[in-house]
């Protein structure tokens, strides 16, 4: 079963996905402040990497990267509500691109799996 990344068109489709997603987060009062003020090119590159990861494409982010990358945002109040908002906006983006609900739920699952790292929570211990 090809990943949603491939289904949507791979790297070529990513630029369009980033445009739609980035516009949504910049226009959303709940999360805009975390995306605003960062150089747009740098921000777009991060979006692209994030989208590649949650869509099942080739990605090299580690849990540590997610922690380090969001540490300063957590210090500025990043919490579950913001992660929820981003996952919702991600879903809307994918809907616009023609993904089906099952695929969207799968993507939300992947995004949720890094919630703990993004919010700087203690890592779950292996039992």
């Amino acid at each position: 079963m090809p990943s949603l990344y491939d289904q949507l068109g791979g790297a070529a489709a990513l630029d369009q996905a980033v445009d739609i997603f980035y516009r949504k987060v910049l226009s959303d009062d709940r999360v805009a402040r975390f995306f605003d003020g960062v150089d747009m090119e740098r921000q777009a590159a991060k979006q692209k990497a994030f989208l590649t990861m949650v869509l099942g494409g080739p990605n090299h982010y580690t849990g540590k990267d997610m922690r380090e990358g969001h540490k300063h945002l957590v210090a500025h109040g990043l919490d579950d509500s913001h992660v929820d908002a981003v996952i919702q906006l991600l879903g809307e983006t994918l809907r616009e691109l023609g993904a089906d609900e099952a695929a969207i739920a799968q993507v939300a699952g992947i995004a949720n799996s890094v919630r703990g790292d993004v919010l700087g929570r203690p890592p779950a211990r292996a039992s």
Binding site: D19, Y22, R23, S27, M40
Partner: protein, 324 residues
């Protein structure tokens, strides 16, 4: 901490110190201007060691592959040996042909490169004086079959070292050096019906005028919308020339914008970003060029994006002033 070697000096960089700062501290003269990674005056080459990726952002692909990097952005992780300024591969000798007033405090500077110089109107070059003083300017015109000079628009800054030098009488004939070009604000033919939006402040008009000329010459059929912003109408220049281009043209539209002034034909009052978005609130499918004041360029970039222009189609060239 890593060591930087240059011209026989070995400099131990302090924590977080850039290559540029370290070299200047050690008394090695290195051309520089904005210290923000924008103007490329401090372009240097690592002859040993690998420069950090962050210091190669904006550097042309072909140069990156050969170890070129921006010294003001380089906080190396390893020892580097660096060649600066005296790299003949980087520079083209040239002569100032003429310096004429274009507007209240803007000069038209024509420079003739000693040998063929490949560049597109809208890109920028580093103009370097024989004593090493360097500043970045956008190309309003590049050499062609009829005219082998480049044209720059230079704002005369009070106390400005380069602009003051250029404004002084007797500059014609003086030798200078050109480095570059760099930047991705230029016209690329191929989608001739695409709407183009070009917005800039002050001498941001230079690259935009060059791009408009290229588009018109290429027979661009889609709308070409040029908006020039200034604080007051005295800041506008080339007005007659641009009105002259617009009159016979079915698709070229020229609008001036000022914060203060008496309303007049083709003059909108307000800040550039307000005026642009009010006039064209839907920009999906547009190719956009934004040049000039960094704050306005950043504001416009975001607003134009939110209005529907895609990131890949927005070309921004903020004119970062030189840092003392």
């Amino acid at each position: 901490m890593p060591t930087v070697r240059c011209r026989g000096a070995a400099i131990d960089l302090a924590e977080g110190e850039t290559v540029l700062a370290g070299l200047l501290r050690a008394g090695v003269p290195v051309s520089h201007s904005c210290r923000a990674g924008a103007c490329q005056a401090c372009l240097a080459r690592a002859t040993a060691g690998t420069p950090p990726a962050a210091s190669q952002v904006g550097v042309k692909e072909t140069l990156r592959a050969r170890g070129y990097f921006l010294a003001c952005q380089a906080r190396p992780m390893e020892d580097l040996t660096v060649a600066v300024d005296d790299d003949p591969a980087l520079a083209v000798g040239a002569r100032i042909v003429s310096v004429e007033p274009l507007g209240a405090d803007v000069l038209l500077v024509r420079v003739r490169p000693d040998r063929p110089f490949e560049a597109r109107a809208g890109q920028f070059v580093v103009l370097r004086r024989p004593d090493g003083l360097a500043r970045s300017y956008s190309l309003a015109r590049v050499p062609d079959e009829r005219d082998d000079t480049i044209e720059l628009h230079v704002r005369v800054i009070p106390g400005g070292r380069m602009s003051g030098w250029l404004a002084a009488p007797g500059r014609a004939g003086d030798p200078v050096e050109l480095r570059g070009p760099a930047g991705d604000c230029f016209y690329v033919p191929g989608r001739e019906s695409q709407p183009l939006l070009l917005a800039g402040t002050g001498t941001g008009l230079a690259p935009l005028v060059g791009i408009v000329a290229d588009a018109l010459r290429a027979g661009h059929s889609g709308p070409i919308r040029l908006v020039h912003g200034a604080r007051t109408p005295t800041g506008h220049y080339l007005v007659h020339q641009l009105e002259g281009w617009a009159r016979p043209s079915p698709n070229f539209e020229y609008l001036r914008c000022a914060l203060h002034g008496d309303p007049a034909q083709n003059l909108a009052l307000g800040s550039l970003d307000e005026v642009v978005i009010a006039r064209w609130p839907r920009l999906a499918g547009h190719r956009v060029f934004l040049c000039g004041d960094p704050e306005l360029v950043a504001r416009l970039r975001k607003r134009v994006f939110l209005a529907g222009a895609s990131l890949a189609e927005i070309h921004a060239d903020p004119f970062v002033p030189s840092a003392p």
